[in-house]
């Protein structure tokens, strides 16, 4: 016979989706926040983002070549990691430092464990955590938007001000606002000191909406994380709305805690994950040494993921009291 037909076990059709498409969706969703970061902090922010993405892609390629693994850059997951890493760093981070961060993210956190799909911890957050521990000063130096990143322009983030016992009036002053009542709107729009991509809640939500509409992420983790953050903040006498709008919790909820690889599969597990991360981050904010706890909140819950994967919903045919 002239033509031989493809033989394989069913199914014979597939959903029009693949890993590359999902990663591309995340990249597209991150672009508004990234662009806004460049708008706020200028060329250094752009340099940092590009350095981070480039070093993640190159390091992944080098490591995989070195270990004889198949090239993986086409799936764009390294681009996502690079983008995420840069967006959770202060704009004044020196580029050489971000290369180290990329090394920690891609090589240590991801490839050492077998590459995409096998890493227990979120690579971008591991990169950030290692930088934060290695260079605590550099990673906690913040600058006012629209100013050259000089020592003279350093300031504190809104969360920092509150942590150090400041009031909302101090926060308003730090953001260049005339009254404390404008703080919430200011935080929502994002004109404040902070990490490159974490400030504008509005643009983060735009990206998140895109991810939800395209079916890239679900809402179980982000909503439970945000709800538990707000709830516990209120319980501990902190301003819940301020808690949500400042710091990196919204960014973390939609872009870090929704990482497929390091979060649980079943919905019940996702909810526990989100609630747990929220609780830990608020406890760190309230009682810990750092003003912000999103990184560690999510990383700690990453460790619980294998257990949370067992919280699978009931199987068909196992009715309580039924036969068998």
């Amino acid at each position: 016979m002239a033509k031989s037909y493809l033989l394989s076990s069913s199914p014979h059709v597939f959903e029009n989706i693949d890993v590359r498409r999902l990663m591309l969706n995340v990249i597209l969703a991150l672009l508004p926040a990234a662009a806004y970061g460049v708008y706020l902090f200028g060329v250094p922010a752009a340099v940092l983002i590009l350095t981070s993405v480039a070093s993640c892609v190159i390091l992944e390629l080098l490591f995989r070549r070195l270990t004889g693994a198949r090239d993986n850059y086409r799936d764009l997951s390294a681009v996502v990691t690079g983008l995420l890493l840069a967006l959770v760093l202060p704009p004044s981070t020196p580029p050489w430092m971000v290369v180290l961060g990329a090394l920690a993210s891609i090589v240590v956190a991801k490839e050492f464990f077998g590459g995409l799909g096998h890493n227990p911890f979120n690579p971008a957050l591991i990169g950030r955590a290692i930088l934060l521990m290695s260079f605590p000063a550099a990673i906690t130096t913040w600058h006012r938007p629209f100013e050259a990143l000089t020592d003279a322009a350093t300031t504190a983030t809104p969360l920092n001000i509150i942590k150090l016992g400041g009031t909302m009036a101090d926060v308003a002053a730090g953001m260049g606002l005339s009254s404390p009542s404008q703080v919430y709107l200011g935080l929502f729009l994002g004109n404040r000191a902070g990490c490159i991509g974490e400030s504008s809640i509005l643009l983060i939500l735009v990206g998140a909406a895109y991810l939800v509409i395209t079916g890239t992420i679900g809402l179980s983790v982000p909503l439970s994380l945000l709800a538990s953050t707000a709830g516990l903040s209120a319980l501990l006498g902190m301003d819940p709305l301020f808690g949500l709008l400042s710091g990196g919790v919204v960014f973390g909820a939609f872009f870090m805690a929704t990482d497929y690889v390091t979060t649980p599969l079943p919905t019940a597990g996702k909810i526990v994950f989100g609630v747990g991360a929220g609780v830990i981050l608020v406890l760190i904010r309230r009682f810990g040494g750092f003003p912000e706890g999103v990184t560690y909140g999510i990383l700690v819950m990453n460790a619980f993921t294998p257990f949370l994967n067992d919280l699978i919903s009931r199987k068909y045919g196992f009715v309580k009291g039924g036969a068998k």
């Binding site: 069913s10 014979h12 045919g317 039924g322």
Partner: protein
């Protein structure tokens, strides 16, 4: 007539691609010059014992294979003619079967003749079952002999008979056409089944997107004063799976390892019920089958009534040939059907469709690492964790996988359909299930 609506989520919502053939009325395919009639057209057990030899003259509808055991079903000659040879053929599912090759010739006993309706109403349940067995009726998808399915043990009682009209596989619309064109006959078939099973309730379950079929069946039921309720279900896949259908309509779940009758239900496909009508009311054996021919490679996709034993080459010709060479040929639906390698494969009693798929339709792509995105978990209609089961099987832990629900896998394929990493999940589970069953369930 009141219509119950049950739209709870089941599995996935695939691209259904039914518009290609939905509007195509059933037409009679040409009778094949050479028919290849497999003697194994039921799910389990031995092939039917061959009753003819090369050179014998057979008549249309004559029995040519007698069920060899209690699990078997008779086979009838689909055409009048002469037996040329006995040959071994591959069935779509990969099994081998002896087959009778018949060359067309002589006069048709049924085709083109008017038939008188057989007065079945006064027959006993046992007689009706006997007729169904005589005429070789099997499930038009499952290939389970229908008289066995309808033989209810003495200590059991049928609460609910479900006439399953869902046809949830993408591409397939032959049953939809059957409902539109043969609604009164289907209702009469359901009345025959009801007489045999004596259920407390009868439900006709139709896909909600098929308003026309719903109306046709509703009117036919009303005209026949048939006391069936009509229910609409969602366009999910695999809504038509027996276990899913029962849960959607009644909220009951068939216990793990059990069968529909454990919750008092019997579910039959609309095609099967139509075959019951033909067998009992027309005394016609199963010699033809309504099926869909579709896929991007075929010029004129459509719905055909085809003689059993028609080689696929004849169907290709019937449907205008190929616009391009197909990449894959599938018998059945694209989610659970079988790929075949040979166009001489014949149509059997449970062929629901023949798909000639192009590479664009198949969307093959490279397998990558599991992302742990959880889409398979979300898609699994049985509430299993396909990626975890796959991993266990991959590591040889068959017993553990079996204990974690592998035995309940219905092999519907939703997990593999949604996987962005293109991991052959259901395929692995299928192998794992076969291996664990071979080893006796555990080990």
């Amino acid at each position: 007539m009141s219509v119950r609506q049950s739209f709870s989520r089941v599995g996935i919502l695939p691209r259904d691609l039914k518009d290609l053939t939905r509007g195509q009325a059933l037409w009679n395919a040409s009778v094949p010059v050479v028919s290849v009639v497999p003697l194994l057209q039921h799910r389990e057990g031995d092939p039917a014992a061959c009753l003819v030899a090369p050179g014998d003259v057979v008549r249309e509808g004559m029995i040519i294979g007698r069920a060899a055991g209690p699990e078997g079903a008779h086979v009838h000659s689909p055409v009048p003619g002469t037996v040329r040879e006995l040959r071994e053929v591959f069935l779509p599912d990969g099994r081998r079967s002896p087959a009778v090759v018949i060359e067309l010739g002589g006069e048709f006993d049924r085709l083109g003749k008017s038939v008188r309706k057989y007065p079945w109403e006064n027959h006993s349940q046992k007689d009706l079952l006997g007729i169904i067995a005589d005429k070789g009726v099997v499930g038009m998808e499952s290939a389970v002999p229908t008289h066995l399915k309808y033989t209810i043990p003495k200590n059991r009682r049928v609460d609910l008979f479900i006439l399953n009209c869902s046809e949830c596989e993408p591409y397939l619309t032959a049953n939809h056409r059957l409902m539109l064109e043969k609604a009164p006959q289907i209702v009469e078939g359901a009345r025959i089944v009801a007489k045999i099973l004596d259920p407390r309730r009868i439900l006709i379950a139709v896909d909600k997107s098929r308003k026309d079929a719903l109306d046709a069946l509703g009117q036919a039921a009303k005209a026949a004063e048939f006391g069936a309720e009509i229910a609409t279900v969602g366009s999910w896949f695999p809504q038509g799976d027996e276990k899913q259908m029962i849960r959607t309509l009644t909220g009951l779940e068939v216990p793990s390892g059990g069968e529909a009758l454990d919750v008092g239900a019997v579910v039959s496909n609309v095609g099967t019920v139509f075959a019951v009508y033909e067998a009992v009311a027309l005394l016609k054996p199963v010699i033809e089958k309504a099926l869909t021919v579709a896929g991007g490679a075929i010029r004129n996709p459509g719905n055909l009534k085809v003689r059993i034993g028609t080689p696929l080459t004849d169907l290709v010709e019937e449907c205008g040939g190929f616009v391009e060479m197909p990449e894959k040929i599938v018998i059945g639906g694209p989610m659970t059907g079988s790929a075949i390698f040979d166009l001489s494969t014949p149509v059997t009693k449970n062929t629901t469709g023949v798909l000639f798929l192009t590479s664009r339709e198949i969307r093959n792509s490279r397998r990558t690492n599991c992302l742990r995105c959880g889409r398979c978990v979300e898609a699994c209609p049985m509430g299993l964790d396909p990626t975890n089961l796959f991993k266990l099987i991959d590591h040889g832990a068959y017993g553990e996988a079996f204990g974690q629900g592998l035995k309940d896998c219905r092999e519907c394929g939703c997990c593999a359909y949604v996987c962005p990493a293109r991991i052959p999940l259901v395929q692995g589970l299928r192998v794992g299930k076969a291996v664990s069953l071979e080893r006796g369930g555990a080990a």
